[in-house]
Amino acid sequence: MATLSMASERVRARSGARTFLSRYARSRSAVVGAIGLLVIVVCAVAAPLLAPYDPTAQSAGSLLGPSGSHWLGTDDLGRDILSRAIYGARASLTVGCGSAALGALLGVPLGVVAGYLGRWTDSVSMRFVDLLLAVPTVLLALVITAVIGASRINLIVAIGVAAIPQFARLARAATLSIRDRDFVVASRGMGASTPDTMFRTVLLNLLGPIMVQLVITASLAVVVEAGLSVLGLGVPPPTPSWGGMLQEARGYLYQSPTFGVFPGLCLAITVFCMDRVGHGLRVAVGVESAGATTRAVI
């Protein structure tokens, strides 16, 4: 056949992963964010190896300034601030990632089904989402923890539920935008069942934006968790958490101003790194703007 050799002469040979990485690396700040986040994760995982002191040990004098033995000084109970900050990464990361994952797990299927099936399924699910959205995140988490009590798991549940709308709306909008694209129509035309089309063809194409939203939501959840801890409703003491440290520092702003600076810096750096990783992913997977799903003035 004469046409045989014509078409395939020039196919740009690059694997998906390579393209992804090279696009991601195009944003320098995204690379910085990824490295920073990696460091924070290492801190959380290897905290016992890295922390100079037991985070709950009340050895030295209280409210000491930075010194050779305590680089960042000690808190009101004489505990080493650096060690507590290193351990504090654990609470932030587990609650942040856990609740983002929970929100995605519940929100994404809801959004895909609502967007794909439309009609009353869509109306019912979106009214439910509107309902969740109507209560500010912190307030919702506050009420939920008040009802079921504060523990790490409960925090994840509380913040995760509050994150459902973000994922549901994202997944629904993305589903709507590709529902009538030819490859989805083609899938139905070839006789694929509705679940097969929804969760193989459609969902597969939402992974990019969902990944981006996961990181963004995680960063918001970190802040919410810390905010709750500032109110004394976070991970219960004596487990160290950055928000909890800020809450403890509140009473000593006159005596030891530095006490309140470092935990907040840890938070800000974590959120910054996540934000930049989200930005890099967005560029890499070709998702445009994040949209208006962020709402976290607390």
Binding site: M1, A2, T3, L4, S5, M6, A7, S8, E9, R10, V11, R12, A13, R14, G16, S22, R26, R181, D182, F183, V185, A186, S187, R188, G189, M190, G191, A192, D196, T201, L204, N205, L207
Partner: protein, 693 residues
């Protein structure tokens, strides 16, 4: 500057301005224009030392495929490139002797809209969605005449709207773009462009986004606009038919350079560049099918890979392996009433199919009594139109309204019609993507609409579809191999067997089997369409539906795909339903043709008969609307008026009545809906078919 004071446009009835010829001083002269973009893959030179000029009253067509730089040239010349990664724009762009590129941006802007105006490709997105249409035209006037009062501006806008053929201008003035059809939007954009009587009018693919009948109207209007303003016109297009119809001269661009320029008659008669000649040879013709088209091998150039030699060399049937073509870039030299950039200019003309050498015998017509693979009887699809809070049905749209079709084994039925005529609804009903409201569909004799469960699954394997846009019809997250294997997966074929079938198919459709694991994003449009074809053929279907399969592809690639489809049909004996708005492409492919209008088939019969002697006024008008790539037969045509109709509008009598040149006044057409009846060896739904000659 504006033609001071007297710049007022008169209504169409006024005497046209005499066109002054200034051979010495062109209205627009672009010289040595270079445009470069910086991309992650390095610097890309999109426009490479382009030079052309247009005199007042003259129309220059700039022709080229995707990525040839034809649009970038003018956008750069006018300072309208908005991409952030422009690296370099150099050269001169003189309008009436004044180099726009030498002017500071602010001052250059004041020349736009006054001395040189532009008309864009997609009229729907060319207008600001939140501003009134009339105000947007008035803005063009007031930007150059601060003293203009709102009242005078409005009056002049109403004149302009009348001139460009927008009915009820006083009402239309205050409407928004979304209330306009595509054709009407383009009229508005044209009104804007001619508002200040520019010296140069640049139209960038002005009809590409429009239907055939609307295209004819807009081309007519462009001619009028050029005549009214006496402007020099640059018409950027990929459509050689439009070139032949409209232009005085043509410049052919390839890979950012002009490869040939000459008067239009010369370009079509004696092309000197092998690319020009190959393009002409690869076009499907209206007059008769050509058996195989002479496709240009390969793909349009990738500007990121620049070679030292001629950019066309890798695809060139003449210079392909000659060393000078590979190493030395040919420059534009004067030759035969024009200029050409080729080391072997002059040999190109041999590439044109000689009129007598053209395979005059159409491929043997398939016998009409071949067993029917698809049999559609009385098919109808009615969409309810819901409004209001409770989504009550307030009207219905009869998208398909009683259609009978029959496709024989191994034959091709061409289904032709404008947007909204119901051809896609019909095609989708055959896949049961839509549930028809009435009628029956038989595939291999089995009733598709009654089938369910196992039988439905089996029948679905028998009908496959290839979609219009290869960039959206493949799942971007699956490898092309997995994409092609989808129908087999859904049929429960085990993985290893799927793989084997797909690799065989890839070979058949001209793809490398070793590329099967790559993602669609790595392939060009033409290659993706091959993947889609492989996918359609995977379950060995009885019939494949093609929904505008080549309309998103460049001309040169289009011919490759059409040839491939022919070969595959000869080999496998699969039947095709070929849906398209492009009558030339359908002519190339189809044995039988059905013309659809407002949900019904108005004429159907053997392709050769239908094209030679259309009997329905709509078929006739469609054929007349198509610009033919032959400047020697510029016809005086009667384009259809109005837009393709809205299927929700209830009609009595003949559907086509409102746009029909014959039946508008006749009682019979208003009273009785014409049925398909046998006329002159084909079926036509017109009371006065005998009058159409």
């Amino acid at each position: 500057m504006r033609a001071a004071g007297s710049g007022r446009l008169r209504p169409a009835t006024a005497e046209p301005h005499p066109v002054e010829e200034h051979p010495g001083e062109p209205a627009l002269r672009i010289s040595d224009l270079v445009v470069e973009f910086s991309t992650p893959a390095g610097t890309v030179r999109a426009v490479d030392h382009v030079t052309y000029q247009v005199a007042r009253g003259e129309t220059l067509a700039v022709v080229g495929e995707t990525g040839s730089g034809k649009s970038v040239t003018v956008l750069a010349a006018l300072g309208l490139l908005s991409a952030g990664n422009v690296r370099r724009v150099s050269g001169r762009a003189e309008v009436a002797g004044q180099d726009l590129l030498a002017l500071p941006a602010r001052e250059r802007r004041t020349r736009l809209g006054a001395d040189v105006a532009m008309i864009f490709q997609d009229p729907m997105s060319a207008l600001d969605p939140v501003q009134r249409v009339g105000d947007q035209i008035a803005e063009a006037l007031r930007a150059h005449d601060r003293a203009l009062t709102a009242r005078t501006a409005r009056a002049r806008v109403l004149e302009l709207l009348t001139l460009v053929g927008v009915p009820q201008p006083a009402i239309r003035y205050d409407q928004y773009p979304h209330q306009f059809s595509g054709g009407m939007c383009q009229r508005v954009v044209i009104a804007m462009a001619i508002a200040n009587r520019p010296k140069v009018l640049i139209a960038d693919e002005p009809t590409t986004a429009l239907d055939v009948s609307v295209q004819a109207q807009i081309l007519e209007l462009l001619r009028l606009a050029a005549r009214e303003t006496g402007a020099a016109t640059v018409l950027i297009t990929h459509d050689l038919g439009v070139v032949a119809e409209m232009a005085d001269r043509a410049a052919v661009m390839y890979a950012g350079r002009i490869v040939e320029t000459a008067p239009v008659a010369r370009i079509f008669d004696r092309p000197q560049h092998p690319y020009t000649a190959s393009l002409l040879a690869s076009l499907p013709r209206l007059d008769q099918p050509q058996g195989r088209l002479r496709a240009i091998p390969g793909q349009p150039p990738d500007l990121r890979e620049r070679s030292a030699g001629c950019a066309f060399a890798p695809r060139c049937p003449i210079g392909g392996d000659r060393p000078e073509c590979r190493t030395e870039r040919p420059v534009l030299v004067a030759r035969d009433d024009g200029a050409v950039a080729c080391h072997h200019a002059g040999q190109a003309v041999t590439l044109l199919p000689q009129p007598d050498a053209r395979p005059s015998v159409a491929p043997p017509a398939r016998p009409d009594d071949a067993p029917a693979v698809v049999e559609v009887v009385g098919l109808a699809k009615v969409f309810p139109i819901r409004r209001g809070l409770l989504a009550r049905t307030v009207a219905t749209a009869r998208a398909v309204d009683g259609v009978d079709l029959r496709i024989g084994h191994g034959s091709t039925l061409g289904l032709v019609g404008e947007s909204g005529c119901g051809k896609s609804t019909l095609a989708r009903s055959l896949l049961r993507l839509l549930e028809p409201t009435a009628g029956s569909i038989r595939i291999d004799g089995a009733d598709l609409l009654r089938a369910n469960g196992r039988q439905l699954r089996r029948l679905r394997q028998r009908v496959q579809m290839v979609y219009q846009d290869p960039y959206s019809s493949l799942n971007p997250r699956l490898s092309v191999g997995d994409n092609a294997a989808e129908p087999l997966r859904l049929a429960g074929v085990p993985r290893t067997q799927r793989r084997r079938t797909v690799l065989e198919l890839f070979e058949k459709v001209g793809l490398r089997p070793e590329h099967a694991d790559r993602l669609p994003a790595e392939f060009s449009g033409g290659q993706r369409q091959r993947v889609a074809i492989a996918r359609a053929l995977a379950p060995s279907p009885a019939v494949v539906i093609f929904d505008e399969p080549v309309s998103a592809l460049d001309v040169s690639v289009q011919a490759q795909v059409l040839n491939l489809l022919r070969d595959l049909q000869d080999e496998t004996g699969v039947a095709y339903l070929f849906v398209s708005h492009d009558l030339s492409v359908v002519r190339q492919m189809a044995d039988t043709v059905a013309v659809m209008y407002l949900g019904a088939i108005v004429e159907t019969g053997a392709a050769s008969q239908l094209y030679r002697r259309p009997r329905h006024p709509y078929t006739r008008a469609l054929l007349d609307s198509i610009p033919v790539p032959d400047p020697s037969i510029r016809r005086q045509r009667v384009p259809l008026t109005g837009d393709p109709p809205d299927p929700t509008a209830a009609t009595t009598g003949c559907r086509f009545r409102s746009r029909c040149p014959l039946g508008r006044e006749r009682a019979a057409c208003a009273d009785r809906t014409p049925e398909l009846r046998q006329v002159d060896g084909r079926w036509t739904a017109c009371h006065f078919a005998e009058e159409v000659a």
